[in-house]
Symmetry: C2
Subunit: 211 residues, 2 copies
Amino acid sequence: MLGFKRKLKLIAITDKKLKPDIIKSVEDALRGGATSVQLRLKESPTKEMVDLGLRIRRLTRDYDALYFVDDRLDVALATDADGVQLGPDDMPIAKARELAPNLIIGGSVYSLKEALMAEREGAHFLGAGSVFPTPSKSGVRVIGIDGLKEIVESVRIPVVAIGGINKDNVVDVLHTGVVGIAVISAIMGAEDVYKATLELRRIVDEVLKDE
Amino acid sequence: MLGFKRKLKLIAITDKKLKPDIIKSVEDALRGGATSVQLRLKESPTKEMVDLGLRIRRLTRDYDALYFVDDRLDVALATDADGVQLGPDDMPIAKARELAPNLIIGGSVYSLKEALMAEREGAHFLGAGSVFPTPSKSGVRVIGIDGLKEIVESVRIPVVAIGGINKDNVVDVLHTGVVGIAVISAIMGAEDVYKATLELRRIVDEVLKDE
């Protein structure tokens, strides 16, 4: 689990609606420089999740990237993921740590209160948002750059920003002290996933080298 | 895991649509004589599954019944279930056994071929069906009494019958050599879950005492 922080720079999250060929989109994102991939797949049969997860596991190994699973600890364990991302509606973080002590646990938080709670429960890092309004998730709370900064300054664990981040606003986001960004639309919504990832990665590297 | 077979006599499966108050329906079924409860909850947040599962775990302990989770190994592990029920669209049985060697694994099978495969993969028992057409699952294959009998005679592990079983057809089902039945509608579709379970349990006990 050591040294995972630097792999949180650019997390590409799958989106079956935007890119039905999940494996192709993941490989394009990895070629473009995604440092982690998160398999996020709601309402699919478990077997489909496991099959896709095993292929993403192989691809992420090839590209020396981390592989996370959203919500599903069973899929994470069955596919030898590096970690699992757990939000307020998912399995409690403390329970997940107990069941899977070797997994990196990312806490998905949407407020300072949730951030502090996730840290206390044992999250290894946080995915905090939604920084901006986002087409990928409707009805989520928008915390803005200020809300993000407050979370970054209030916890000791690494924070990754999520929610509506794209090449036009990413510089402001990175200046809050986050270790990286997680994106869906900015990558999976692009016509060319590879190019979109490449461009985001270039900006992230440029800004974070001075941080 | 020893001696679980006799607890498979009457498995009550939850149904949120038929009985939105899942905990009440489970307690009614247990009072009526269900020997196992299976938490089956599609498309609910994991946290809700875990919360309900923990309550069902306590109730089943009180009534000396077994507690299974449909599909979700993570929920089974997080709520200290006795077992998990896995079908062709769920996690592969062999993988589940590897991840959770202490859980009873029930394989859901819809043909002789699937039954033999689930046994080979390491299932501890089978849930075989659908014996009759059922309102709980549309589009499933109906194997009939003959198909059920063929499965029972072809495997060495205990078989539980599932699918459209009710008090009017349960005697024929029990004569195939199954160790028990799993029901949704016959119990959860009844106005009085307690009474419906009581009546089914009475018939099951009556028939199986001679087997």
